[in-house]
């Protein structure tokens, strides 16, 4: 019997700043000489998946994502869109709604990814978004990384969907918050799945928080339903790496990135012995 190395995938689900835990996981893998064969990212996870896939070291990834995901990208309201939502005829509502102007987000993402393309990635990269028209999951594996990440982080009601080709794409979280199925389809044997449930605010203080809360209910239930199905329907080994955060980490709590990295590393270290044994031999 011949033996080949098992293909290892890292899947980083939606989770904004908490996704930084993936850097801790990656640190742990690197320390033990375990290489990744692909990275899959969704929503906030797509940012981390992209910088990792482009081959930056962990410290650079931390710096880049910290510079990228700041409150600056949500400072400016999209007044015209909001008015269009309430007075569609007067303000010529264009069918896509957002409360935040996306120019700062686009500039920042462009500053990070520029014209980088998927075929420049050192590790094969797949980014998940959602087709606004059909609601279907869309897996982006070629073309502009900026376009893919911008589409994947298009949080409903916050930023407008993003056009890629002839499709308008929305946050990947709306169709597949933890896309382990992408890794299965791409032939991964061992899938390190780092997923996060959206936190519910203690108090719903505004209409925007209400919308966010309702979205979180949907996506948390979707996360469980999808995860359950893929765990039971396939024979790939899905290894959940679930950091235990002892505090609530908000959407832009970038000061918590080092903590998230630390907890990600801790959760990963607990599974390293098993992963090493699992990867040792595989029928080819």
């Amino acid at each position: 019997m011949s033996h080949t190395r098992k293909r290892v995938a890292l899947v980083i689900g939606a989770g904004s700043v908490k996704c930084a835990a993936a850097l801790g996981l990656w640190k742990a893998l690197s320390r033990h000489g375990i290489e990744l064969d692909m990275v899959v990212g969704c929503s906030g996870g797509s940012l981390y998946a992209a910088v990792m896939a482009l081959g930056y070291d962990v410290d650079t990834c931390e710096r880049l994502t910290r510079e990228l995901w700041t409150r600056k990208i949500t400072e400016r309201r999209d007044i015209r869109s909001v008015l269009g939502g309430f007075l569609p005829r007067l303000f010529r509502f264009d069918g896509r709604f957002a409360t935040i102007d996306d120019r700062a987000l686009n500039e920042t993402l462009h500053g990070q990814f520029g014209a980088r393309r998927f075929d420049e990635a050192k590790i094969p990269l797949h980014v998940v978004a959602t087709d606004f028209e059909s609601g279907q999951k869309v897996v982006l594996s070629e073309g502009s990384i900026f376009d893919a990440v911008r589409a994947s982080v298009a949080i409903p009601y916050v930023w407008k969907p993003w056009q890629v080709g002839d499709r308008w794409l929305l946050d990947g979280c709306m169709s597949d918050p933890l896309p382990v199925d992408v890794a299965i389809r791409e032939g991964a044997h061992a899938i390190l799945a780092m997923g996060f449930e959206s936190p519910y605010p203690r108090r719903v203080k505004s209409a925007s928080r209400y919308a966010f809360h309702v979205s979180s209910i949907y996506t948390n239930n979707l996360l469980r339903a999808n995860y359950s199905f893929h765990n039971l329907a396939h024979h790939a080994e899905i290894i959940p790496i679930l950091p235990e955060f002892d505090r609530q980490i908000g959407l832009f709590d970038t000061d918590q990135i080092p903590y998230a990295i630390e907890e990600g590393a801790r959760a990963a270290e607990a599974q390293i012995p098993y992963l090493k044994r699992l990867l040792d031999v595989v029928p080819g």
Partner: protein
């Protein structure tokens, strides 16, 4: 980590104590150990998971397979002493809505009241 499985046959249910990690390297052994009891007509099973700190997808499939087989025989697989880490995984996979979980073995055994 290897898997250690021991059993205690009681009148009301059979307690299967599991110690270790339930993953793709150990799940078949767990399924086989549970199947022995099903083959001998002992379908009322209590899985004592207080010694299990982790389960992967292979472990989830083993638990579900045994639960379905035991229910087909008129029994059930009920879990006791599930650790916080395993509970998070069961919850994420939606298992906490289909499996009966108890804080300890005594409560799980007592749940099989005739």
């Amino acid at each position: 980590m290897s898997l250690d499985v021991t059993a205690e046959v009681l009148e009301r249910a059979t307690i299967v104590r599991v110690v270790g990690s339930v993953d793709s390297l150990t799940a078949d052994a767990l399924s086989a150990a549970l199947q022995v009891h099903l083959d001998e007509g002992r379908a009322r099973l209590v899985g004592d998971l207080s010694g299990v700190q982790y389960t992967s997808s292979a472990g989830l499939r083993a638990i579900l397979g045994t639960m379905k087989a035991s229910r087909e025989q008129g029994g059930d697989l009920r879990l006791a002493g599930v650790s916080q880490g395993v509970h998070r995984i069961l919850d994420l996979a939606g298992f906490t809505s289909i499996l009966k979980l108890y804080p300890d073995v005594g409560a799980a055994v007592a749940s099989f009241a005739d």
